[in-house]
């Protein structure tokens, strides 16, 4: 029996509805055709490195930061966010550095800028950064001296809060380090009459003249008056029971050190302490000391011979007997679990290690730790205000030269946005350029745990320059 037209129409409508509905359902629920799209990628955290690669010491510092970043990249980034870095050559010139900084922050979108440079560069970058920060929030880190950097942050926190001096505050370093050094002059070298030569640079002003100032730290949470005090070196030495028989300032660029050395000798000095950095031509100083009438007097350099073995070669062995801090020995005192592995990594790459290389490497890890702290609490790594607060609060366990408890950047004292002074042990150049750690185990100013001090410090091995030259 044939179906009626009405029944047929009803069946067709039902079938069409079923087919269209089924297809629609299938289309909604079925996976889309073609390859699977990648998961949404997280925005990268960008680190800008501003340094001067033309000078080997400075290149080493930039390379140290790159080593840290590459490690983070291999480990999957920071808190799950990929890390990118880009380098700029500042030529150690203020105008070039400012241009590079603007490009890094504005054009490239850097979240963390790490500057290697002179304090004039940092101060200029801080001014530029203060203008950029509201639109381009970022953090500016600097490993170097100049008290002005952190004093600015203390006094105008809202304007300069993005700036950190990831190094010693000079007014503490220039008191504590000399005290540690003078203690060893007295108790290890057994001298009493000393000569002090001071590099005439901005960072030694306090060492030459002393420093007394009051700074008001003003953050949104606290207002506090901080007194900064630094006695001149001659007074620190006297307090240690040493007699300063000769003192002179060395102009930067000096090539003739003989008058200073002869002056020290004529005054009866048994020990010459040179408050030097690499601004002083320490190679010439050491070469001239080794042939001068003062060659039998202990010579201690505060800084200058950054790369120990290179320094030995450059002096042609004239550094025999010289005492200074040193960092690029493979068995350097493991102040943190990261000290020796870092040195090994650098040496393995053919790079030398100085104090700043440690700090640049560690700065990246401190930034990483702050970002993790923010993310762990549900924040965003791009909330730079939160990262700044975290940097002020969290220690850097991975620091290679400082115990973690010394890496708080928000201490409400003269170290605000800086680290407290690092007091490296002392080494003496001995035969064939071998360096021997001659620090005193009982030195109350050292930060090395006694167990490590007993293992690594060998004050009994110290020798006079004359003994060493005689083949001792």
């Amino acid at each position: 029996m044939p179906m009626s037209k009405k029944v047929l129409a009803a069946i067709i409508v039902v079938v069409v509805i079923a087919v269209v509905g089924g297809l629609s359902y299938a289309l909604i629920t079925a996976p889309p055709p073609g390859p699977t799209p990648p998961p949404v990628e997280k925005k990268p955290i960008k680190i800008a490195l501003l340094y001067n690669p033309a000078i080997s010491v400075l290149k080493g510092q930039g390379e140290a930061a790159k080593v840290a970043i590459e490690e983070l990249q291999k480990a999957g980034g920071i808190a799950g966010y990929p890390v990118e870095y880009k380098e700029w050559d500042t030529q150690r010139k203020v105008d070039v550095a400012v241009a590079a900084y603007r490009e890094a922050v504005v054009d490239w979108g850097a979240h963390f800028v790490l500057l290697e440079g002179v304090s004039e560069e940092m101060l200029a970058l801080m001014e530029e950064g203060a203008k950029l920060y509201p639109k381009y929030p970022h953090i500016l880190g600097y490993v170097g001296m100049a008290a002005e950097v952190t004093i600015k942050v203390m006094e105008e926190y809202d304007k300069y809060k993005f700036a950190f001096r990831l190094f010693d505050a000079d007014y503490t370093a220039n008191v504590l380090r000399p005290l540690a050094i003078f203690w060893e002059a007295k108790n290890v070298l057994k001298v009493s009459k000393i000569a002090i030569l001071i590099e005439e640079a901005a960072w030694t002003l306090g060492a030459r003249q002393g420093l007394e100032m009051t700074v008001t730290l003003k953050t949104p949470e606290v207002t506090k008056t901080i007194r900064i005090s630094q006695k001149p070196l001659r007074e620190l030495a006297r307090e240690m029971g040493l007699t300063v028989v000769y003192e002179a300032n060395i102009p930067v660029g000096t090539k003739e050190f003989l008058p200073f050395l002869e002056g020290a000798k004529a005054a009866g000095a048994e020990y010459i302490f040179v408050m030097s950095s690499w601004y002083t031509d320490c190679i010439t100083l050491v070469k001239q000391w080794a042939v001068s009438g003062a060659r039998d007097i202990y010579l201690e350099l505060y800084g200058g011979p950054n790369h120990w073995t290179v320094f030995w070669n450059l002096t042609g062995g004239a550094a025999l007997g010289v005492i200074s801090g040193v960092f690029d020995v493979p068995d350097y005192i493991p102040i943190s679990p990261y000290t020796q592995p870092f040195i090994a990594k650098m040496l393995g790459r053919g790079l030398r290690v100085d104090m700043s290389a440690h700090y640049y490497y560690s700065a990246v890890y401190h930034f990483k730790r702050a970002v993790e702290y923010v993310v762990e609490r549900g924040g965003s790594p791009f909330d730079i205000d939160a990262v700044i607060k975290a940097l002020e609060r969290v220690p850097c366990e991975e620091h290679t030269l400082l115990p973690a408890e010394m890496t708080i950047l928000g201490s409400l004292d003269e170290n605000f946005h800086s680290y407290p002074a690092c007091l490296p042990p002392h080494y003496q150049f001995q035969r064939d350029g071998k360096v021997v750690c001659i620090s005193g185990i009982e030195n109350p100013f050292r930060q090395v745990p006694e167990e490590l001090a007993r293992r690594y410090f060998h004050p009994e091995l110290v020798k006079s320059p004359a003994e060493l030259r005689a083949g001792g």
Partner: protein
Amino acid sequence: MINELLLSLIYTFIFGSMYLGIALGFSIVTGVLRVFNLAYPIFFLIAAYGTWLFWRDLNLPFELSIALPFVLVAVASYLVYKFVVNKFMEAEDYMLAALILLFLAVEQVVSIVYPEAAGVFIPTRVIEGSVNVGPASLPGQYFVIALASLIMTALYVMFFMKTKTGLVMRAISQSYLVSRIIGVNFNLMFVIAMILGSIPPAVVMLLLAPVWALNPFIGWTLFAYGIMVAVLGGLGNLKGTIIAAYMIGAIYSFVAYLVNPRLAGLACLVVVVIILALKPRGLARAETIW
């Protein structure tokens, strides 16, 4: 006090002689060619880094490695003359620009090939340790530098006084025009003067190496001493150069040992400025080389 006086006198001799050695070649070139050779510092660099190149990079014997840079220095002198001095003789401003650019280029090349980290060191120490003079113990190597500078100066003075070539050069320095009229071979004389002028900086550099740091930028530092002495002495006059060298040596030493070493450099500059204000052409007028 007597010790300090003695030291001042001895270092007057040492520093004065050293400054003389540094400025000697520059004065010769200025005296004969009447050219302010701003490429002069390259001779310091070629001597130091050339020695290192032959000794450590090419593994030649050390003595030969010290000798060969003198050939390089001579060749460089010739090239500087041929392609810069001679080319721009009539356009002094271009010549000065070219000479300084040449120096900067050489400096950059050296700094790229031998950055400080290369650890360049040249063991040209002739006397190890110190020499005792009365109560003072003095660096032996400085005596060697002083002696070498004096010997070179004496030889050059004899050359200008006693040899035909030296007399011709003095004639050129006195009157370029007359020399031209009598048919002097200028090209040859100028090349010889350039080469002669390049030897003292090379010698001084090699002897200074054990007591000064070697770095690619040392040329300018040494040249600054050379210019100060040469300008004070009267450009191109050897007598003036000798007097100026010892005058600066004396001021430096007496201020350093009797007053304050910090003020020694400044004292030298102040005296130079005062003398030049009174005698703008220096201590000896630069009309002849001797």
